[in-house]
C-alpha cells in the first residue's frame, strides 16, 4: 500500500470573479521512502496541491470538489478538523521555501521546535527543548546547544533552512512536503540541503514530495516526477523516463529549457492560462505546436504509455518522435 495516494482530486477557488480550477483530477501515489518531484511553473497548482494534502487549504475560497487523499489508508478529507490537526506536523509535515518568515521572529529556534513536541506529544517545553538540540545536531547545525537559543534572524539562510527541516522531521512524519526548499538559497547550500533531505528520507523511510521548478534538482534526487500544467498532471513517471524522454509537449519544453545550451533554447510561447477561464479542450493547446481540432475540442485523458509512465496528450507519439 502506498504511503500517500491521491485519487481524482479536484480543487476550485470560488471568487467573485469566477471559479478558478486550481486542481483538476489529480492522481498520484507516493510509496514509503520514495521521492516524488512535482514540477511546473508558477500558478500550475503545485502549492495548492501541497496545501490540500496538509489540510490547510484556505476555505473559502478554496473547495475540494472531488477526490480522496489517503494517508496510510486513512481518508484525510473525511476527517474532522481536530483529527486532521493531530496528523498535521506529526504524520505529514512541511518544509517552507523561506525559513526566515516561516519561523516566528519572537521566539528562539529551540523553543519553536519544542512546540511541536508540546502540541503533539504533550511533552513539557523544557524536555522538548532538549530534543530540539538533538534534532539541530542531526541536521548538521554546529554548536546546537547555543544555536537553539538563537532567534531566526540570527542564523544564516542555510542554517535556518536546516532548522526548518529539523522542525519538520521532529516527529518523523510519514510524508514530508518540501515546497521549493532550496529556492531562497545559493547553489552550494542548495546541494547541502538536498543531500540532508535525502539522507533523512533514507534514515526514516518517509516519503518525500518535492515541489520545485528547478528541474536540475528534481533530476538529481527524485525517483519519480510529475509535471503539472494548469492544475493537471500532464505527465508522470520515473524521473529518468520523464526527464530524459518527456512525452508531453509542455514537459518537453520545460526539460529543453532546463538542459538546453542557450543557443537552442526556445521559450515556450505564450502564457499559462487563467485558471478561471481555461481554454476548451486541452489547457495547453494555445501554446502547443501539435495542437489540432481534437485538442481544441477535447481535454485528453491520462493514458499509460509505458510501465509507470503516463501522459495526458492526444499527440504524445508525434511529439516524442519529433523530439
Amino acid at each position: 500500500m502506498p504511503q500517500l495516494s491521491i485519487e481524482d482530486l479536484s480543487v476550485e477557488f470560488r471568487t467573485a470573479r469566477g471559479t478558478a480550477h486550481a486542481l483538476r483530477q489529480i492522481n498520484l501515489t507516493v510509496d514509503r521512502a520514495e521521492t516524488l518531484a512535482i514540477i511546473g511553473e508558477s500558478g500550475s497548482g503545485k502549492s495548492v496541491l501541497a496545501r490540500t494534502i496538509l489540510g490547510t487549504l484556505v476555505s473559502p475560497p478554496g473547495h475540494v470538489t472531488a477526490g480522496r487523499i489517503r494517508l496510510n489508508g486513512i481518508d484525510l478529507l473525511a476527517l474532522d478538523a481536530r483529527s486532521y490537526r493531530k496528523l498535521q506536523g506529526d504524520r505529514v509535515a512541511m518544509v517552507f521555501q523561506d525559513a526566515l518568515v516561516a519561523f516566528n521572529p519572537l521566539y528562539q529556534i529551540g523553543w519553536q521546535i519544542a512546540e511541536v513536541f508540546n502540541i503533539h506529544r504533550y511533552m513539557p517545553m523544557k524536555a522538548g527543548f532538549e530534543r530540539a538540540i538533538g534534532l539541530l545536531r542531526r541536521v548538521g547545525i554546529p554548536n546546537p546547544e547555543q544555536r537553539a537559543h538563537a532567534y531566526p534572524h540570527q542564523l544564516s539562510g542555510g542554517m535556518r533552512q536546516r532548522a526548518m527541516i529539523a522542525l519538520a522531521v521532529a516527529l518523523e512524519p510519514d510524508v514530508l512536503l518540501a515546497d521549493e526548499p532550496t529556492t531562497a538559497l545559493d547553489v552550494t547550500v542548495q546541494a547541502q540541503i538536498m543531500a540532508l533531505l535525502e539522507s533523512l528520507r533514507q534514515e526514516t523511510g518517509m516519503a518525500l514530495i518535492l515541489i520545485t521548478h528547478d528541474i536540475a534538482v528534481a533530476a538529481e534526487v527524485a525517483d519519480r516526477v510529475a509535471v503539472m500544467y494548469a492544475g493537471r498532471i500532464v505527465e508522470e513517471g520515473r524521473a529518468i523516463d520523464v526527464l530524459s524522454k518527456p512525452r508531453h509537449p509542455y514537459a518537453q519544453g520545460l526539460v529543453a529549457l532546463a538542459s538546453g545550451s542557450s543557443a537552442t533554447v526556445v521559450a515556450i510561447p505564450g502564457l499559462p492560462p487563467d485558471l478561471s477561464e481555461l481554454p476548451t479542450g486541452c489547457a495547453f493547446h494555445p501554446r502547443c505546436t501539435f495542437a489540432d481540432d481534437l485538442c481544441r475540442r477535447r481535454d485528453p485523458a491520462t493514458r499509460s504509455i509505458a510501465e509507470q509512465h503516463s501522459v495526458a496528450c492526444h499527440h504524445s507519439e508525434e511529439a516524442s518522435a519529433d523530439a
Binding site: Q88, A93, M94, N104, H120, Y151, L167
Partner: protein, 303 residues
C-alpha cells in the same frame, strides 16, 4: 537575561530616567500608606492657609504649600496618587487586556463574531462617552470600581480596533501559517503566535492611555459623578486649583506635574520596552557603539 535588560535600560537614558521617576512616585505612594495615617491629608489648619511652596518656615508638612483650607499640598498629592494611579493603571491594563482579547478574536475568526464585536465597539464609540458616564454613575454608586469599569468600557473600542488590525496582518504572515501546518489549534495560534506579536503595540497604546485616563477621571469628578470628596485624585486637585491659578499656582502646577510625569514616563518606558522585547531590534539598545535615545513620544496625550 535580567542583567541584559538592566544593561539595556542603563544605556538608554530617557528610559532610565523615566523608570527612576516612576519608581520614585510608586515608592512615595507606597510609603504614604505607612506614614500618612489618619487624617493628615485632610486636616485643615486655618492659621496657615495658602502658604506658598518651598519654604520650611511652617515645617516639612507645608514644603509644597497649602490650600485655602490650610491642607498640606504634599500630603494631599501623596494620598491623591493612590486613586489616580489605581484608576489609571487598572483601567489601562484592563482595557488593553479585554480589547486585545476581543480584537484578536474578531481578527482571527472573522465572519459573524467579527461583525458583532466591531459593531458593538462602534456603538460604544458613537455614544458620547461623558454623557454615558454621567448616566451610568448616576445609577450606580460612584466608587472607584465603578469608575474603572466605566473607563474600561469607554476606552475599549480603540484597543479592539488596533488589536484587530494588527491581528489581521499577523494572521496572514507565514509563521502563523507554518504553525497551522504543524497542527497548532486556533487557541494556540491566538495565544502563542498572535498575542505576543501584538503585545508591544497594546503596551504602547495602554501607556498613551494612562495620561488620558487620569484626565477623564478628573473630568468625571468635575461633573460631580467621579471620586467624591473627601476622596481626592490628581485630576481633582488640578480642577480645584484652577480657581486660584493666578494667586496660588502651586495648587494646579504640582498635581499637573505629577500627571505629566507619570504619563510621559509611561510613554518613554513603553517605547523602550517595545524595542527591548523585540529580538530583531534590541541589539540597538545593547551595543556600545551607540544607544539610540528612545526619545519622547510623538503624541503627548491630553496635556
Amino acid at each position: 537575561m535580567n542583567g541584559r535588560y538592566g544593561r539595556m535600560l542603563y544605556r538608554s537614558k530617557g528610559a532610565l530616567i523615566s523608570a527612576i521617576l516612576l519608581a520614585a512616585i510608586l515608592l512615595v505612594t507606597g510609603a504614604g500608606f505607612i506614614l500618612l495615617r489618619g487624617d493628615v491629608a485632610t486636616a485643615t489648619s486655618f492659621s496657615g492657609t495658602m502658604i506658598p511652596p518651598f519654604s520650611l518656615v511652617h515645617g516639612f508638612r507645608d514644603v509644597l504649600g497649602t490650600d485655602l483650607l490650610g491642607r498640606s499640598e504634599l500630603f494631599r498629592l501623596i494620598v491623591a496618587a493612590r486613586t489616580s494611579l489605581a484608576v489609571a493603571f487598572s483601567a489601562a491594563f484592563l482595557a488593553a487586556a479585554f480589547g486585545a482579547a476581543l480584537g484578536i478574536v474578531a481578527g482571527f475568526r472573522k465572519g459573524f463574531l467579527d461583525t458583532i464585536i466591531m459593531r458593538l465597539s462602534d456603538a460604544i464609540q458613537s455614544f458620547p462617552s461623558l454623557f454615558l458616564a454621567v448616566l451610568f454613575l448616576y445609577i450606580v454608586e460612584p466608587r472607584i470600581e465603578n469608575i474603572v469599569i466605566l473607563l474600561v468600557v469607554g476606552r475599549l473600542p480603540m484597543f479592539i480596533r488596533v488589536a484587530r488590525a494588527e491581528t489581521v496582518t499577523v494572521v496572514n504572515s507565514l509563521f502563523v501559517d507554518a504553525a497551522r501546518c504543524l497542527g497548532a489549534s486556533g487557541w494556540w495560534l491566538c495565544l502563542y503566535e498572535i498575542a505576543p506579536a501584538i503585545l508591544p503595540t497594546m503596551l504602547t497604546l495602554a501607556a498613551l492611555e494612562i495620561g488620558v485616563l487620569m484626565l477623564v477621571e478628573s473630568a468625571l469628578s468635575f461633573l460631580g459623578v467621579g471620586i467624591q470628596a473627601p476622596g481626592v485624585s490628581w485630576g481633582i486637585m488640578v480642577s480645584e486649583g484652577r480657581d486660584w491659578i493666578q494667586s496660588a499656582w502651586w495648587l494646579t502646577v504640582f498635581p499637573g506635574l505629577c500627571i505629566a510625569t507619570v504619563s510621559i514616563s509611561c510613554n518613554v518606558l513603553s517605547n523602550w520596552l517595545r524595542l527591548a522585547t523585540n529580538p530583531v531590534e534590541r541589539w540597538r539598545l545593547d551595543t556600545d557603539v551607540h544607544a539610540p535615545d528612545v526619545g519622547l513620544p510623538a503624541v503627548l496625550p491630553g496635556i
